[in-house]
Symmetry: D3
Subunit: 193 residues, 6 copies
């Protein structure tokens, strides 16, 4: 498997990249112990790389009373599974297991979130995320009202929808590029440390 | 999680079951180390239980030159993922990892088989399986011709289609019953023993 | 038309078949006056043949207070029409006409069950059967509640769903094999005897 | 069943209708032996009635070297079945059986035309008719080229597409009005006279 | 652009056409200042031409208390956009702008009527029109009840559904013929005269 | 219409915004003569605002030998129309008319790009963009090969796919927020200056 390409588009040599992108990749490598392929696959387009991760961080490195870190990952896993994005489901499934301290939740959500060990509030959150992902043209005030009833405020609703929309972009980039999932993600968060 | 029901339909007490069904359950328990929930969830209907597992065994406990055990499980994982059947994807994903001696293959196939580490021949096999699963009314002799070109004979084609059709039944029973996946399946085949 | 093949897969010679399968075919021939092609088309796989008809009989040769014989056939006709299974619609349409003593009902159900001469209770039954057939992943407790309101108990619900699931398998086998409908079925139950 | 309404919209009294419409209904009654409900259901709108039947006759009461009367009815049956129009499938199925002198063809086409006793040329014709019916926005010159290869000229192609388009209108009017199929149609053309 | 054909089917010479069709075309030319291509594209089939425009006029050249001229055009624009019919959206979008005296409304409705500057009553009207256009087989009495609640009577409901059905025919004819939109339509009703 | 809200989410006061965002809005206002609502609707989230427009500019303010400015806008119009995004179709339709110096092209592409006045090369470009938008999971090397045959290199392919993916994000944000299209866009580029 070591010979399988990371992407169908070019992967630049690290030392040829702009300083800030080298720095970002160095940091994630130190934190994760490996370089997630999405960083390498986007690096041939520095401006897009910067915008992508700035957008990502604004939505995902954030915890609010209405939406914790694990719930943000749940949205990623469910919408990416529906979009059949291998990288996003497996990599963010790993992050979700760790953040939720739950080794089962990612596989449950990836196949059928309606049967997962989640709360009704989380189901409502995922219904909305999936509607934004697949039928955004039909979103209406009834959808918002149900979210309000379950304690989500308008800031949360924006977050849920924006995460779904952003990973819709990510899913499409990954699928058009055949970005390969790092082997390391598959087992992360499955066994107690 | 221990309180979550196994099925929305009744689960009979083991000792009240017909002798042959008790025996079958005892055997699988000895082999796997636990009782997969599908056995408990179908047991309230002994005649259907017997037919279901007889059908299953006829298609799955079988290895031919054209279709090995791992490939049969691949068909189950891919079609069940498309039908959003949590139990089938996770349980048969476990079996697939073991049979293929590959810890990555099940998660790859479950999200997008077009991006998985499989051969072109296996891709053609899965294309056919998925067409039987989702658009059987359009199956035609061109589909069969492509399979022949890749070395599948008519017996293999029947197997591929019948496995897809049988697990289509299984997927529907599981989803209508909300049959819970045993926790044991999630980690099976992921770490070297 | 007599030269049209019964199936794209092999049809074994009756006398070469296992005893029990010969016996089963002999019985249906005596009862119907001809051998329905599904028996011939499955016979090249004796173990699958036995499982298929055992499953079929467990669900269809059964009458309960909640679900009579004609209603079981209604489920077959409606779900098979949606799956575009010629054999199932025409053969079971014939059985339905006879069991319901109604020469019009099968054609009505096969094209649009929402416009058929059936009760509201039967419409609810067919809504559920069709959801199991086409969107089983979305079945939820609201679906079950509507069935309960119309007097179906959980045993009936299992039957409705299991019949839909089983004929989903049958529809796929028939379509992938191009199993031909016997000419005899077309007129059965249309004219008073 | 005699009490079931013919349409959810008003059915005018025959003698209150404009002379020409009374005349048309009288003629069809004499020819068929009964009044097909579509005539009664459209009569409350005389101008639309006249346009509808003028359009119908221009396309259906016509036989050309490229497209005989039976083939025109095949198009109606196949596209109406896909649109789930009970009246059109059953009434035109009857006409088709008579025109094709084939008691089986209508039921075959209504469930899955890909498995019907028709020629390859007729399959190509029905592929085009169905594409006009369901995906007209994607019709392109490749579709036309295939028809030409099978001996259809541009006049035939217009006829095939226009019949599909016209019955698309008819299917929608029937479904929105719940126009009931006359009992007489079900058996027509099934038994030799 | 002047060399682009009006239709993939033949366009007859005006003076060779039947008198009444020449007359009709002359009238529309005088009124509009140009000949809309739909008249030329249908003229090679005089009987169909007459039926088409008779049907059109019966539904569109009509104003009732429940449904004014602009609202009839709204139905055309929304259903034709969903059917991806360039001619119908652009030509009837022009007429709508003029009839509604609103330069924005056509573009809003063509992309997403749920976000357009229309009343709730008009949204309900368009929901029904679109359901007739895309899922007529599922129309039921609940749909009608909502329309009644918003002040539409049964005559209005017929009009809404029939306009949707008629333009479904028109959309299919246009798409199968690649009928070109006249350049004149694009700007009509956009700038105050 | 002046009272219609710009978005269902909050619109901050300009002078309360971070300096760089005020600056960006000032610049677009000077260039366009008005503030496009998307700038106001995203401003309540400064970090996302910055990432969004950085991403946008990286893909859209760029002209390459393989993909000119007008072609980039074509991709936006076609994919946004399919996603039913009113703001994107109307605003970018305006930009497209200006960049292509063609007053007809935007309306043609928004309803059915297969019937628009574009080259075969542009059709192939839009086929790929739409596949990324709606079925990215099925993108394969055959899609890429067709683009290569028409003179697109891998950099162009990335651009086409990335524009489609980015506006998929934009379409979802707009639809979930009901961002209103500025009246100014409707007429831009339609009349010669």
């Amino acid at each position: 498997m070591s010979d399988t390409p990371i992407s169908r588009f070019p992967i630049p040599t690290l030392k040829d990249l702009p300083e800030d992108i080298q720095q970002r990749i160095k940091e994630v490598n130190e934190k994760a112990g490996f370089i997630p392929n999405i960083f390498l696959a986007l690096a041939h387009r520095p401006a897009e790389f910067r915008a992508f991760f700035a957008y990502h961080d604004a939505l995902m490195d954030k915890e609010t009373p209405g939406l914790n870190l694990a719930e943000r990952e749940m949205i990623v896993v469910v919408t990416s599974a529906r979009n059949q994005c291998q990288y996003c489901v497996i990599a963010h499934g790993a992050v979700l297991r760790i953040r939720a301290k739950n080794p089962l939740i990612a596989d449950q959500l990836a196949t059928n979130y309606r049967k997962a060990d989640i709360t009704e509030r989380q189901t409502v959150m995922l219904d909305y995320a999936l509607k934004v992902s697949r039928q955004a043209e039909k979103i209406n005030e009834q959808d918002t009202a149900i979210l309000h009833e379950h304690g989500f405020d308008d800031d949360d609703i924006w977050d849920i929808g924006a995460i779904s929309a952003f990973f819709g972009l990510s899913n499409r980039i990954v699928n058009m590029s055949s970005i390969r999932t790092n082997d390391e993600f598959y087992l992360m968060g499955r066994v107690p440390r």
